[in-house]
Symmetry: C2
DNA sequence: TGTCGATTTCTTGTCGACAAATAAAATACA
DNA sequence: TGTATTTTATTTGTCGACAAGAAATCGACA
């Protein structure tokens, strides 16, 4: 009752940082499904929670809406965006293509220091698999591929890819209980192979591997999804 | 001197429409280079011009910044984004790929009513060419390809593609005086061919044509660009 | 009891004002 | 005359308050 959901105790706040902070935090909570799709978002409530006025809150919400993470009904309410299960195939199309093109460009344009970063996230992911920490797998996998995209140095692609990876994290979280069993060591090995072809600047190989890897993930999600559907029908 | 740049006389304004209106108008002015890259953007000035408070102005600016059309230095100023000539190749890469994938998907997923819209923009473009109206060519060409992307029904791709088309419009405006000579009837014919393969649901043909079309445009821009460079060197 | 209309409530959209941060201008000093 | 420092000016970031719009509630009436 006292101080229940106050993200507490950051009374020190620099001038321009309010909106940024709210944006980052809300984004994380949405992607981690701490805020469920469809949850209402109340400006005054957030203002109280973060102990600031509605203005910087509003700015954060406008940015989140721009990225499609929340939806706002004019004059009425704003809520966390729902996941569009009916059009999942558009998500899959975009996912596969962006996996391919970012990996390809990474093979072409990466610099040595990029590999250091990529390898670090690779190790993080491997550690998460070893620890059977599904939630950490989701996060580090996204970070790994985001780093590869970064090495490709095409801001148009990286920005879209990030958005897709974010949405992918939301979808995977839905099933995270199920895929400790399914998210195998195999992905770790595939990541290692990806690093190898990138380092070798093998563009075609990068494309081929990235495609196979992406389609693997798509199948994984589809399996989880259809299993869930059968579960729903049983009710 | 009196009432020089007031976009005048819309005292009637509905409640939620302020930010939207400013956003649309600024976006147009940026894309049409009425606001040159690097131009400072002053919130109070805009507030006076549109006769509203800074709050809705600010919302519009936040959205524009989210799309990369303006850049804002914390606590200091905000200005129209510059065109990154040094990394034009990333723009070209994204342009070609998005031309291909959106046209491809249009061939796959379009519905009959989509073709009506596409053909209408095609005619608009043809009319602009006939009229030697370079500015109208730029706008209608973008609208044409945007409509094709819409028919592909993948919001991830359409949103990125729109952003790229907007940037392309800015770049083309720089040279619009030069390409009345160069923007030939040929593009009209290529557009007609694109419509044909889409209508025939010929996916591979759509890919091939879109690619050729896009690379044509890229070469066009590169020609204009290098010509301009030689001109600069002559100074 | 059910339906339609008025009223209340709740949330957002807009406003004007103030404070902080930074750049520009002015001043002091060598 | 040139440089360092203080002062001013300008622009943004934040705040609290108020009003409009839409849903929910309540009440009248059949």
């Amino acid at each position: 009752m006292t101080d229940l959901d106050s993200d507490s105790d950051l009374p020190e706040r620099k001038r321009g940082s309010g909106a940024r902070m709210v944006y980052d935090l809300l984004r994380d909570e949405i992607i981690d499904l701490k805020l469920a799709p469809g949850s209402p978002i109340d400006e005054v409530q957030l203002a109280e929670r973060f102990k600031m006025s509605r203005t910087p809150i509003r700015e954060a919400l406008v940015r989140l809406a721009g990225e499609g993470l929340i939806e706002t009904l004019p004059n009425r309410s704003t809520m966390v965006s729902n996941i569009d299960f009916l059009n999942l195939h558009t998500f899959f199309d975009a996912l596969v293509l962006m996996y391919r093109v970012t990996t390809r460009l990474a093979a072409q344009y990466h610099r040595p220091e990029d590999l250091v970063v990529i390898r670090r996230f690779h190790e993080d992911y491997a550690a998460a698999v070893k620890a059977h920490d599904a939630l950490a797998m989701i996060a580090t996998n996204a970070a790994f591929h985001s780093a590869i995209a970064e090495a490709g140095r095409n801001p148009y692609f990286t920005s879209l890819f990030r958005r897709i990876l974010d949405e992918g994290r939301r979808i995977l979280r839905l099933y995270y209980r199920s895929y400790e069993e399914q998210f195998p060591q195999r992905f770790v090995e595939e990541h290692a192979e990806l690093i190898a072809v990138i380092a070798a600047r093998d563009v075609e190989g990068a494309d081929r591997l990235a495609r196979a890897h992406a389609e693997q993930i798509v199948r994984q999600i589809q399996t989880l999804f259809s299993r869930q559907e059968r579960l729903d029908m049983a009710l």
